[in-house]
Symmetry: C2
Subunit: 514 residues, 2 copies
């Protein structure tokens, strides 16, 4: 089950009965990128960018706000100045790149949800980290715990989302209890690979503990493979702040995965050129990777970049632009230069789930796909440059991602598919192939069946209420939220989890650190 068709509209079901139900099954859970990677820069230019990044770290350094992190760098031979600047020699970076794993086996809550992150793999995440949620029923509002849960159900529903993302911030949950809420939701409502924020060691360690007790993982099993991940954003340019540095250290120590992503906008916190911005991003990512490898050689780290541009007239962020696309291509070239799995991002600057939002998101997505990104974050639902996640947009973008997943499955052109005797010679000139032998064999599984896109003709569509895709998406997400099944619960682990959370909240919880 791809889980892509939660509900069928009544009008449609009737005409479907003629030919029965499709039995099409395509594995969306472990995808390989079928697209040739595209280069935007020449090989020597990429080498020059890498050299420039190494030189920047050596000569100009990076500001590291966490004393423990500065000590780790200093112990490895980096020069540390009084103003918290760390000057990292290329030997440290080169050793780190050498020990960083080229392939990471991510362990989810069920074996058929596991996946591998490496160059060539293709993993999607829904839009992440937004303070607001929006839908056509309730409009735009600060996101709540209920929104978090509802988005999580949608993430679980679509196989094409292989990882859970921190979709929206549940703002009605107190910050010192929020990690209990989000961890409980992740283990109860999905068996996909979970996400934990790096908001200080106390919260992170509690998240690990809760995951282990609810999924029945021994400490040894937990540390033997990544069972969770975090996302680390540098404060570009050239600053690594306290919780981010602490997260890199904590996740490395426990052998869980960090995705390191400088998030920069060309012309604002990064140079105005793709080459300059990606050189800066590359330097920052390598500094963060170095920290993890100094903590624990072989620590699980995913290289990352999320670089788009601002509108130079207004300073406003833009996404899904040609420069965003080229930045993804350049980052992909540098990731391949290092040999590491890497994440990129789609997304949209639009203020509503409209055609701009669709076109920006898909345009940025193709940048990621042709850049050979191992993980595409914000691949669905992300509006306003990340200030809002939209329920309807999650649905609309998931349809596109499903179609991309279908392309990963490829196609065949053997004698059976060409069908010289079963199709081509079976139909007279100007005839039709509806009942050719080849058609009869394959009609139930031949084509991807959309859950949102509507092929009714104009008359039928008008009779049914002339709803556009945005309007139709509302009923689809409402049905998923109400009816889509959660994974089988592991009762004993969950009881332990509930007791743990109750106790910790009564003890005052764990405030985030910054």
């Amino acid at each position: 089950m791809n889980g892509q068709r939660p509900e069928r509209r009544r009008g449609r079901r009737k005409s479907q009965e003629d030919r029965g139900t499709s039995k099409r099954e395509v594995n969306y859970r472990q995808l390989k990128n079928p697209f040739a990677t595209m280069d935007v820069f020449a090989v020597d230019q990429i080498a020059h960018m890498h050299e420039s990044a190494l030189r920047l770290l050596e000569e100009m350094g990076i500001r590291v706000l966490l004393p423990e992190a500065r000590d780790i760098f200093a112990k490895a031979g980096a020069r540390v100045s009084d103003d918290d600047m760390v000057y990292i020699g290329r030997d440290i970076i080169e050793s780190a790149i050498a020990t960083a794993p080229k392939s990471i086996e991510c362990r989810a809550g069920a074996r058929n949800r596991d996946f591998v992150l490496e160059l060539g793999s293709l993993v999607f995440q829904p839009g992440a980290g937004a303070p607001n949620a929006t839908d056509l029923v309730k409009g735009r509002r600060p996101a709540t715990g209920q929104d978090y849960i509802d988005f999580l159900k949608m993430t679980h529903h679509f196989d094409v989302f292989q990882m859970v993302s921190p979709q929206v911030e549940p703002q009605d949950i107190p910050p010192h209890e929020r990690h209990y809420f989000t961890t409980k939701a992740q283990v109860e409502l999905t068996d996909k690979f979970p996400f934990f924020f790096s908001r200080g060691t106390p919260q992170v360690m509690e998240c690990f503990e809760m995951l282990c007790m609810s999924r029945g993982l021994s400490d040894e099993t937990f540390r033997a493979a990544p069972h969770s991940y975090t996302i680390i954003n540098t404060n570009s340019p050239r600053t690594l702040d306290i919780p981010m540095a602490q997260g890199l250290i904590d996740f490395a120590r426990m052998r869980q995965m960090s995705i390191v992503t400088p998030f920069t906008l060309m012309g604002a916190m990064a140079p105005i050129t793709v080459a300059g911005a990606i050189t800066l991003s590359h330097a920052e990512a390598m500094a963060a990777i170095a920290l993890t490898q100094l903590v624990s050689p072989g620590a699980l780290i995913c290289y990352g970049t999320f670089t788009s541009n601002v509108d130079m007239k207004s300073g406003a962020p833009a996404f899904g632009t040609p420069s965003h696309f080229q930045a993804s291509l350049a980052a992909g070239q540098l990731a391949r230069f290092l040999g590491l799995p890497w994440r990129s991002a789609a997304g949209s600057a639009s203020n509503s789930n409209d055609i701009q939002a669709a076109n920006e998101n898909q345009f940025g997505l193709w940048g990621c796909l042709l850049a050979g990104a191992s993980v595409v974050i914000h691949s669905a639902g992300w509006l306003e440059g990340g200030l809002t996640v939209s329920f309807e947009k999650m649905i609309c973008d998931a349809e596109v991602l499903n179609m991309v997943a279908e392309l990963c499955a490829g196609a065949q052109a053997g004698a059976d598919e060409i069908g010289y005797d079963t199709a081509l010679t079976q139909v007279a000139p100007s005839g039709h192939f509806f009942d050719a032998p080849q058609t009869m064999e394959r009609y139930q599984t031949a084509f991807y069946e959309p859950f949102l896109h509507d092929y009714a003709n104009f008359g039928t569509w008008t009779e049914r209420g002339a709803q556009d895709a945005n309007q139709r998406a509302t009923a689809l997400w409402q049905d998923i939220v109400a009816n889509s099944p959660a994974p089988e619960p592991k009762a004993s682990g969950l009881n332990d989890l509930h007791r743990f959370i109750e106790r910790r909240i009564s003890e005052g919880g764990a405030p985030p650190e910054s």
Copy 2:
């Protein structure tokens, strides 16, 4: 001028004044495809498809309804049976492929509108051939002459449309006068490469005559290079009807260009598999190409395919699907196998200009781009699988095409772009690059500026009326239709044209033939 910003909304202009007007200029008129071509089938499978197509033409034949065309095939040695079937030997096909040109220099009304069609070039056309037009003001209706004119102004406005397409059928113009109307509009309102329908020799020859007199072309000049083109659809499976065969002959004789496009839907008028459908389409295209080369070796012919799938539950056509994408890839492989320039198509099945329409169109577009299509037809505005062209969708899709054109321009990563001394070392940790020397040098030209996409924040966007992209598109196309300049007229030629049309209409016009 790319012509992509006909109007600025008042609210925006204010904030733009701070930093002046962009001087960005990118040539959208002659594009080279920057994307690596993608293969869906192995090389031996493509060879097997080609062999199967040759065998189909030899053993099963193609029905040719025009006696003159059958005679041409017979004279070349093809067997013709009493039921109008023509059995074409592979020697005829192979000779035709050998003489068909690999590169075609298309001559527009002005030299800076000329372009070359070959493998690797990239030309866009707006959606074509629809009986209906739609917009948010007047709704969906049978298209009129005014709609034809308004769409033509939009085609002229955007540099990214290098060819004119037969956008909508002006149904209020009598069929025997319609070609006067559309030719007059094309020569008066644009200097781009014009399109003529193949609706019988009388209309076609009059179109050629009108074009020559209005653009001041001698017969010799006209025949020396293609100054116009037609699109030839076979009646799949395996029928070439009278006006289409006549068009191939007429355009070949006058050395004008035919784009041969079997338009098929997998599971309906073509086999249910990509391999089978494209084998059929390939056979039909080669038969049509053979006819042109028998008429005039070296006749200007563009290979083509437009193959998508039906919904097997309802039989409804679908576009922008994974199968459509793969069909484009397969057709591109066969075009490269032959070495010929070729056309493919985007498009949408949606009933309104909505998110489905955007996502289908862009998904299909990426199929064409990765398939290495030389011409992408229906790249903007096409709804309902071709029954309607939408004014707002033309605007929305043109934004995406402009962004693709920007990618064609590539990017640089020399020392100036990396900007070690002018940007990377000029900004302190956590600072910003707004006034770095590199930024100041480049801010006016760094980024593509959208004409539709809006980067305002949610508050500003809401204050301005919370218009989505579809609603904003209305003002944009209205402005183009009202204000976008037409090319300089050539008065003498146009006077001749007007007199010719007046006379021919008074003589009864020229009815289409079928």
